[in-house]
């Protein structure tokens, strides 16, 4: 028992080995994986890119917070409020260390990557004027397109798009050519949710900085798969969603370089984000609290902190090796099924395999797999420009996480053969 009356993170419950990555041990930490779903089949969860499952220690941390420490933060002079504040700010420090940010004041808690991008776009929009340009890429999620379109339409600025090739790799020379005096901001997918492509973001940030242009990385997909070091990447802003990082929904992180955050105007007004309020004038709180109006998602932050603790204890070289193996095996075996077209075959990818199966509609593939207990995503993946690029309405996506196994890949492949038997 610590001062806060129990675990404030992923303590004794996590069985994940420190030394060598052990998928069987990891699986024991995720109770939902034992669930039996449709047709009496054990759950095979391959929709991790949409939302990952949570380790028991994260669920316990949230439960423990509500049972023992629940109160509002930064206000009370009583024990529970102080505990809640310690836990909330402790989670901020965990996020800081996880991303290797220089200080915890560079971590803003938001609802998720989407809110983080909106917060930044809202601020950048006020600096834009007609003739300015914002650069995004062809493979962005809608959440890294629409906020910038809104910023452009408010100011008369233009959205420019970095093209990609058939494999789903960005054209870096086209990107370099797009960067110019008129470029005011670059917003870039770190890893594509629809294709799995890992973009050469460090080099792309360097190119933008040569022009004095700030860069935001949408790392919602990358964060669960690659170790992120914001100082090494040298990005100005980075966003991630807790629920894709084996944490709770409704909580995410906006990292902003101290000076870059300082230059952003407040996003939402309300309590917590102010220092003094009169009817004539309001002065704002310091960064990061200036961007956290209202009572924050305290339990969400606590849960995210627990998930980060859990991930910090994993052998990340082992995680990479394991996920890459799953990706390579799935690519080879799914790609060998008659009628399959793989969508997204970049040289550098995270563990996402996207495909179509002859002219069987992806929703039918998804439903048949569902009857076998297998959860995949079928649809446009909130990346309609990517679907348009490949001239498909939708695709099937199998996305792998730390707890998936080679046997599960084989179970998926066998079920896909079953889909062929039904429809072809």
């Amino acid at each position: 028992m610590n001062r806060l009356g129990g675990t404030d993170g992923c303590g004794a419950t996590a069985a994940a080995a420190r030394d060598a990555f052990d998928v069987a041990a990891v699986r024991r930490d995720f109770p939902i994986l034992d669930r039996v779903v449709r047709g009496g089949e054990q759950l095979l969860y391959l929709d991790n890119a949409a939302s990952a499952q949570k380790p028991a220690c994260t669920v316990d941390a949230i439960d423990h917070y509500y049972r023992n420490s629940n109160a509002n933060v930064h206000r009370g002079v009583h024990a529970l409020s102080e505990e809640a504040t310690l836990l909330y700010e402790g989670a901020r420090e965990k996020a800081q260390r996880f991303l290797n940010a220089q200080r915890s004041a560079e971590i803003v808690f938001v609802r998720g990557a989407t809110e983080g991008i909106n917060l930044v776009a809202n601020g950048i929009a006020r600096r834009l004027q007609a003739g300015d340009e914002i650069i995004v890429s062809q493979m962005e999620h809608h959440s890294n397109i629409v906020p910038w379109q809104m910023a452009c339409s408010a100011s008369g600025a233009q959205l420019r798009v970095i093209p990609m090739n058939q494999a789903g790799e960005l054209d870096l020379s086209a990107y370099a050519a797009l960067l110019g005096d008129q470029t005011k901001f670059v917003a870039l997918s770190h890893m594509s949710n629809a294709l799995g492509t890992l973009n050469p973001v460090k080099e792309m940030i360097r190119l933008a900085h040569e022009r004095g242009v700030q860069v935001l990385l949408d790392s919602a997909q990358a964060a669960p798969h690659v170790r992120i070091d914001v100082q090494d990447l040298d990005c100005d802003f980075l966003v991630l969603s807790g629920h894709k990082l084996y944490g709770p929904t409704g909580i995410g992180v906006l990292y902003g370089r101290a000076a870059a955050l300082q230059d952003l105007p407040p996003y939402q007004g309300g309590g917590e984000m102010i220092r003094t309020v009169t009817f004539e004038e309001t002065t704002y709180n310091d960064v990061p609290w200036r961007f956290e109006a209202g009572t924050p998602n305290i339990a969400g932050a606590v849960g995210l902190g627990a998930s980060i603790d859990y991930l910090e204890r994993l052998d990340w070289a082992g995680v990479h090796r394991h996920e890459q193996e799953l990706h390579d095996l799935a690519t080879e075996q799914i790609g060998a099924i008659e009628g399959v077209t793989l969508i997204g075959t970049a040289a550098t990818k995270g563990s996402i395999v996207t495909f179509t199966l002859a002219d069987v509609h992806p929703h039918d593939v998804g439903t048949v797999l569902d009857t076998r207990g297998i959860a995949v995503r079928a649809g446009h993946h909130c990346a309609q420009p990517v679907m348009d690029f490949y001239s498909v309405a939708a695709t099937v996506r199998a996305s792998f996480g730390i707890y998936n196994t080679r046997e599960e890949v084989e179970r998926l492949v066998a079920a896909l053969q079953g889909v062929r038997e039904v429809f072809l």
Partner: protein
């Protein structure tokens, strides 16, 4: 639930060989349907004579097996029906999807004939809009009037 309860032979057959697929030049009623969730699109056209009887129905579009079969079987079911009968059938079809095989009575299922094969969709809430898209679209088409009448897209949102 077994896979075959959803993807019954009739549904697979209509998906592979849709009936009444194509355009009706000069149709008296047209509507376009769109399911933003999966990107499915369907156009339903009908010709209605002076007595308010549907003389021809056709559809075009891209969709999953459930939505294609549903549109195809709709065109067969509505041939020769009056507009009032068609609207009743749309109501009954939606009722069947809502209640499912176990929740709906035999009379409802019997009145729908072959269309009763869609009862299994009830157990797959995310697929309900696939089954009903063409039906929403048909109802919208029948509400339009005039030779070139064409409504804005009917969406399942």
């Amino acid at each position: 639930m077994d896979l075959r309860e959803l993807y019954q032979e009739t549904i697979l057959d209509h998906n592979k060989a849709p009936r009444n697929y194509g355009e009706i030049p000069g149709a008296s009623h047209t509507a376009h349907g769109h399911n933003p969730l999966c990107g499915d699109r369907v156009t339903v056209q009908a010709c209605v004579d002076d007595q308010g009887r549907i003389t021809e129905v056709r559809f075009q579009g891209n969709g999953c097996a459930i939505s294609t079969a549903s549109a195809s079987m709709l065109t067969e079911a509505l041939q020769g029906k009056t507009v009032a009968e068609a609207n009743t059938l749309v109501d009954r079809f939606q009722e069947l999807i809502r209640l499912g095989a176990d929740g709906s009575d035999e009379e409802l299922q019997a009145s729908l004939g072959k269309l009763a094969v869609f009862a299994g969709v009830c157990d797959y809430p995310s697929r309900v809009t696939c089954a009903t898209l063409a039906w929403h679209t048909l109802r919208s088409a029948l509400e339009t009037t005039g030779a070139d009448a064409s409504t804005g897209p009917v969406t399942t949102e």
